[in-house]
């Protein structure tokens, strides 16, 4: 008799949500953020899952079903290059084109002098962020979109038409993917909605990291005003994609706004005062935020502890998960803490031993979700992912 997928889905959703609210479910939920690993497991190249989202979705569903995971992202190879190629985006290196077919896509940050926003353009961004993106930023990041004041071209027009249609096609497919995950394997979609911190996005896609760090010293008031101008837009976009049922968290991908990329003082003046109110606003609307804290944020755990209880799930990458548990464990669920290097180069016994240590150290009272430290690419061994999963299934029962 076929398993009752609706019943399984309901059990998993309850398990996942209970843990995210820092409660104790029946057992530890398993929610690996698997990207190019899905291609390796399902028999695709990285190129195939990056350029053909249908294959990426199929690979994600195969992994979810075969590994019996509680929750996954519908497609963690998130940048479908069909969209970026339609737009003419310049800043990606793509597997099968600039990269080997089995290397994950790469973001290429331009040199400081070719940053997508110049240092004298802060006022224009601050005055009208949306207008700035359309009129200044997009023509610089796209090979096809014409700069302001120049005659439009055939390729300019196609960029908007194809880019919009491709994005709509891709985003719409996530709804179908969530339904198929639920129907085929009773798997929960792990996240809904996207957020970036104002300072992070200013560094990533506008001024570049080097340019921004210079600006923090040379024009700090402008940087702060730009972050403040971005806040309502980032909040709006995050809420526009949030789960209407208010079960799944909005995810924030945090990477360069903390020590040592900026100083502690810069974090406290720029990063945190322009991110914290966004989290509070999203929480006030009933949504949790998954803090996907890439790298090491140990210098700032006390700041994160200021947030309302259960408003975030804190994902541990390079932090000491035991210290994170001491500082944040009373208020927030944790996830992650299983090193990707271990999954790539260790043995199944090593993986089981590490999982045991983490579970024993941080998960005894619930409030923990099993995951790797960082997004799992194709260097992870299948037998190690299986060991992580099976061990946690057995040992992580409350």
């Amino acid at each position: 008799m076929a398993p009752d997928m609706e019943k399984l889905y309901a059990e998993r959703l309850k398990r996942y949500v209970t843990a995210m609210r820092n409660g104790k479910p029946d057992r530890i939920p398993i929610r690996p953020f698997v990207a190019e690993f899905t291609a390796k497991y399902a028999g695709y190249t990285a190129q195939e899952v990056t350029q053909d989202y249908r294959k990426a979705f199929a690979a994600a569903r195969k992994c979810a079903a075969d590994f019996d995971w509680d929750a996954v992202v519908g497609n963690m190879v998130y940048v479908w290059t069909g969209v970026t190629q339609a737009i003419g985006t310049k800043y990606y290196a793509t597997p099968g084109i600039e990269l080997s077919p089995n290397t994950g896509f790469q973001f290429i940050e331009p040199p400081e002098e070719k940053a997508f926003m110049r240092p004298d353009e802060y006022d224009e961004l601050i005055e009208d962020p949306t207008g700035f993106l359309f009129n200044v930023w997009l023509p610089r990041i796209s090979a096809d979109v014409c700069p302001k004041g120049e005659p439009v071209s055939f390729r300019n027009n196609l960029s908007f038409l194809k880019g919009g249609m491709a994005m709509l096609s891709y985003f719409s497919a996530f709804g179908t993917q969530a339904a198929l995950l639920r129907k085929e394997s009773g798997t929960v979609s792990a996240i809904a909605g996207i957020l970036k911190a104002p300072l992070d996005i200013l560094a990533d896609k506008l001024r570049g990291y080097i340019g921004l760090t210079m600006d923090l010293f040379e024009r700090p008031e402008k940087v702060l005003a730009a972050c403040e101008a971005l806040m309502p837009h980032l909040t709006y976009v995050a809420l526009s994609g949030a789960d209407p049922e208010k079960n799944l968290p909005v995810s924030i991908w945090m990477h360069r706004g903390g020590v040592p990329f900026v100083t502690r003082e810069q974090f406290e003046r720029f990063y945190w005062p322009t991110l914290k109110p966004i989290i509070q606003e999203i929480w006030a609307k009933g949504h949790q935020v998954l803090f996907y804290a890439e790298g090491n944020w140990s210098a700032h755990l006390e700041s994160f502890a200021e947030l309302p209880e259960a408003s975030i799930i804190y994902h541990v990458d390079r932090d000491d998960i035991f210290r994170v548990h001491q500082v944040l464990g009373e208020k927030f669920c944790l996830s992650g803490g299983i090193p990707n290097t271990l999954l790539a180069f260790g043995t199944p016994d090593d993986v089981r031993a590490h999982c045991k240590r983490v579970i024993h150290g941080v998960a005894r009272d619930g409030g923990y979700i099993l995951d790797a430290c960082a997004i799992v690419q194709n260097e992870a061994k299948v037998e190690n992912m299986r060991a992580m999963t099976e061990f946690t299934r057995e040992y992580g029962v409350y």
């Binding site: 998130y78 940048v79 969209v83 970026t84 737009i87 985006t89 005055e127 009208d128 962020p129 949306t130 207008g131 993106l133 359309f134 009129n135 930023w137 997009l138 990041i141 302001k148 004041g149 439009v152 880019g163 919009g164 994005m167 709509l168 996207i194 970036k196 996005i201 896609k205 101008a229 309502p232 837009h233 980032l234 909040t235 709006y236 976009v237 526009s240």
Partner: protein, 60 residues
């Protein structure tokens, strides 16, 4: 619109908005029917343009 085809400078665009209804409405001499339908559909589609550019920045 400015001569180069871009939006004129004015008050900052609100989140979710590219061309506000108040600006678009001036292009219609009058309405023989329900203005509210025209406004709602305009705003729904206008938001798609907004979502497009912000996802270009945030997601892609």
């Amino acid at each position: 619109m400015a001569e180069d085809g871009t939006a004129k400078k004015g008050p900052a665009r609100r989140p979710g908005v590219c061309i506000p209804w108040e600006e678009k409405r001036k292009e219609f001499p009058s309405f023989t029917g329900d203005e509210e339908i025209v406004k709602r559909i305009w705003e729904e589609n206008d938001t798609l343009g907004y979502i497009y550019i912000w996802h270009c920045l945030l997601s892609f």
